[in-house]
Amino acid sequence: MNLPQLQSGRTLRFARAVLLAGFAALSFAAKAGEITVYAAVEADNLKFFGDAFTKAHPGIKVNWVRDSTGIIHARLLAEKDNPRADAIFGMSVTNTIALEGMGLLQPYEPKGLDKIGALYRSKTNPPNWTGLYGWGSVVCFNTIEAKKSNLQKPVVWADLGEPAYKGKITMPNPASSGTGYLMVSGWIQMFGEEKAWAFMDKLHQNIAAYSHSGSKPCEQAAAGEYVVGLSLPLRGARLKEQGAPLDLVIPKEGTGWEMQVAGILKGAKNIADARTFMDWTVSQSAMEAYGRRAEVTAYAVNVPRSEHLPADLVPKMIKNDFDWAAKNQSRVIAEWRKRYDAKTEPKK
């Protein structure tokens, strides 16, 4: 292969130009003072938290990649052998335990870890992830539509199984939404398997539709599409702010909930800044930021909560076994699909 000198020179120059153009386009490059964080946080909350971080660490620029938990999780799995991000933030603990099990996280002990309780950190020492804040499930109840169809507010979960609610309830499908799973896992942990499935059998009779997103049921209740949406209190609070005629009800027995966590990814390019970021996630200023937007934080902070959140939410959160929830996820979802998913057409 004896190429003429001139041509090989030209080829080289061309190759170099292409490579340079490629690097210029490099979208996930590592730079000092810059980290890439995958965030499964709602976009408006993320802006609030991100601003708080920038205020505390103006020297570090965070490139946020925000998406829903499922999309972020899928991306992380695909990037397993070629990690692009430095850290995850606001990921649900159930998903994070799965990522931890696949060895995608690296341990780090953030400054101020001692303030955090055992439930809010991974079992390893130093921890692979630490907790930030949590949210539970809630019944979004449209008062205007309820009056029209003469429905009473539910007091206990079993009420939602009564025939009066037939075709009036929506909830997220646990096979497509983490929020759906946290409800199912909550019921099983509260009532035990047998009673929980018996309750869900009854509830299923009343469900108008299972949605693919955790917040959709509350939105549908807010817009009067259905009277009751099993969903997230934060979404309910946001919709009430906008003027939705909603009551956020937490049944007497308590409610399942999910924790959001942060951690450093194995293969992080900018470890130093990622660690600074992790230190911040458990700092007082971060907790105060979460406290204004979430129901419960990894340690108590004294900030005003949204007035639209139900007052009895925190005491009603069940004692949650996240490891159980993560380990049993595929089994429970398979059982759920066997029972309800084959016939989930809307009922009248």
Binding site: A43, E79, A208, H212, S330, A342
Partner: protein, 567 residues
């Protein structure tokens, strides 16, 4: 070039043009390998692995077929796809017929209206349908107690969404026709209906079948519509979503994708059988048909198109309404507050990204698809290679965007891939988008080319006019309307695309269509509608410029059609 010196293989005598063709076919081979076959192959191969990546044979398939929900999903998928296809083909055929074969006024206007549903991101169509027909909907009673969340919603949204595609393919087919046949029919005093049955229908048979196959497969593989408006009505595409996004089970997601591929392969076989029978409609001596005024018929067509227009405008009007009311349905005061997007990662730069993407995809896809269609249709040699090229170009239609996006994600992140640096760039987004829409643009170009007699090429060859020259001097100008349609089709689709892009956007390359989804996820449905409407405004502007430019180009290249009608 050294190629000229090579001895001719077998007994085929190749001239320079034939070598050019072979070279181009090979270049397309490489393109499709990178842009389609490898990414999709990686994704589908996951169906044979467990979650840890070990080979498990058909175990996932056994698990899947043991799931009771499966048969229901398959039946549901086929039902909504078949029903949507039936409705769309009928509606779009009459519409395209009115556009191309009648003398009704405002034809350009109606042509633009047909594209309106393409301007709207999927979520926007769903919002509009829910506001019209949901439980609080203005016209809820029109459904007689049935729910919009379910098959009715899926079918109506799918009809809305595929209508522009169908009109595009069918108009192309109807545009190319030989006036001499109609003159003969008239001379023989053949009735209008009989002429339609014996001349028009056979001439567009191929277009009709491609449209039906296209719509069927599109509805079958789309997950966006059933996700937002399907309620609990399970279809195969949402099953993939549940596996991949709900439970990160790539293996089972891949299994469902393979199940979805089967009807697509069947469609390909049908397509081959029909193509085998197809002969060119527009012979070199053909005289293009120009419709003659016929008051009663024109009035009927005008009424029909007006009805479709009203329906289309009702949908987009409701979407606009959703963006400017305070809180549906309890507070209908006017507000512009939803147009200020104060959330992380949503802003005008998303919009810039979308525009850059749409322009690059439209231009790149236009060139690629027309050349690939030409290579399939026109050359004399390399029958096998050309068939393979055609087959590969039909694959994208069968691949759900979600699967394509995941395939790209896995492909570009594989450590051994030298193209890894493309991850998160607009270049990769553009490549995946061209690939995603390849089948329809390829088929549109084919339909246009099919109707040009091969004699054009033979004459060019015997006159020793080079392939390149006859391509640019004859083929491209004759097919200019189809090329322009392909451009705008790609542009509009790139502005609203979500399914593949959601896995591939990077830190600085988020698209406006993705921002719509993120706003909805943040509980700001009205803001999502507002962002969606911004996409619509941009699309309308580009579409109007396109109409203006097209009319200029068509005036220059299509004058022969006018001459024919004058004679």
């Amino acid at each position: 070039m050294s190629a000229v010196a090579l001895p001719a293989l077998r007994r085929v005598v190749r001239d320079r043009d034939d070598w050019l063709v072979l070279g181009l076919i090979l270049a397309f081979g490489v393109f499709f390998l990178v842009a389609l076959v490898l990414p999709v192959g990686i994704m589908l191969s996951r169906s044979l692995q467990d979650t840890a990546g070990n080979f498990v044979g058909l175990a996932n398939y056994r698990t899947y077929f043991a799931t009771p929900a499966l048969l229901q999903s398959i039946a549901n998928s086929f039902f909504v796809a078949a029903l949507s296809t039936l409705i769309v083909v009928v509606l779009a055929f009459i519409y395209a017929y009115a556009l191309t074969r009648s003398h009704m006024p405002f034809r350009t206007f109606f042509k633009v209206i047909a594209f309106v549903p393409l301007l709207m991101p999927g979520l926007l169509k769903a919002i509009a349908l829910v506001y019209w027909f949901g439980n609080q909907g203005v016209l809820k009673s029109a459904l007689f107690g049935a729910s919009i969340y379910g098959p009715i919603g899926i079918v109506s949204a799918s009809v809305l969404w595929t209508f522009p595609h169908a009109v595009m393919i069918l108009s192309t087919a109807l545009l190319m026709s030989d006036a001499r046949l109609y003159e003969s029919a008239e001379a023989l005093k053949t009735s209008r209906l009989r002429t339609f049955r014996l001349v028009t229908l056979p001439a567009v048979r191929y277009g009709l079948i491609s449209t039906a196959i296209f719509v069927f497969i599109q509805v079958l593989t789309d997950f966006g519509i059933p996700k937002v408006i399907g309620g609990g009505y399970n279809v195969l595409a949402t099953d993939i979503y549940k596996e991949v996004v709900g439970q990160q089970n790539f293996a089972m997601g891949a299994v469902v994708s393979v199940v979805l591929l089967i009807p697509a392969v069947a469609a390909f076989i049908i397509d081959r059988i029909v193509t085998g029978r197809q002969v060119a409609q527009l012979s070199a001596r053909a005289v293009p048909y120009a419709p003659k005024p016929s008051p009663a018929f024109d009035r009927a067509m005008l009424i029909y198109c007006s009805v479709i227009t009203v329906l289309t405008l009702a949908v987009i009007g409701m979407a606009q309404f959703a963006a400017v009311v305070k809180f549906w349905p309890y507070n209908l005061q006017f507000t512009l507050a939803h147009y200020s997007f104060d959330v992380e990662g949503v802003g005008w730069d998303n919009f810039g990204n979308s525009l850059i993407l749409a322009f690059s995809v439209a231009t790149l896809g236009c060139v690629l698809s027309f050349v690939s269609a030409y290579l399939v249709e026109k050359p004399r040699h390399d029958q096998k290679a050309r068939q393979v090229l055609h087959m590969v170009a039909l694959i994208p239609m069968a691949i759900p965007g979600l699967v394509l996006g995941l395939g790209y994600l896995l492909f570009v992140n594989s450590p051994s891939n030298p193209l890894g640096f493309l991850y998160g760039t607009l270049a990769l987004l553009a490549l995946s988008t061209v690939s995603h829409y390849y089948t329809v643009i390829h088929l549109t170009a084919i339909t246009a080319l099919k109707q040009m007699d091969r004699e054009f090429e033979s004459v060019a060859a015997s006159l020793k006019v080079s392939l390149v020259k006859s391509f640019f001097r004859v083929t491209v100008p004759v097919c200019a309307p189809a090329i322009l349609d392909i451009w705008i089709y790609l542009f509009l689709n790139s502005m609203t695309t979500v399914s593949a892009a959601i896995f591939l956007y990077g830190i600085h390359t988020k698209l406006a269509s993705i921002a719509v989804i993120h706003l909805d996820e943040a509980g700001r449905l009205a803001s999502a509608a507002a962002m969606g409407m911004l996409i619509v405004y941009a699309c309308v502007v580009v579409r109007l410029v396109h109409v203006f430019v097209s009319s200029r180009v068509l005036l220059r290249t299509q004058r022969w059609r006018a001459t024919a009608s004058a004679s």
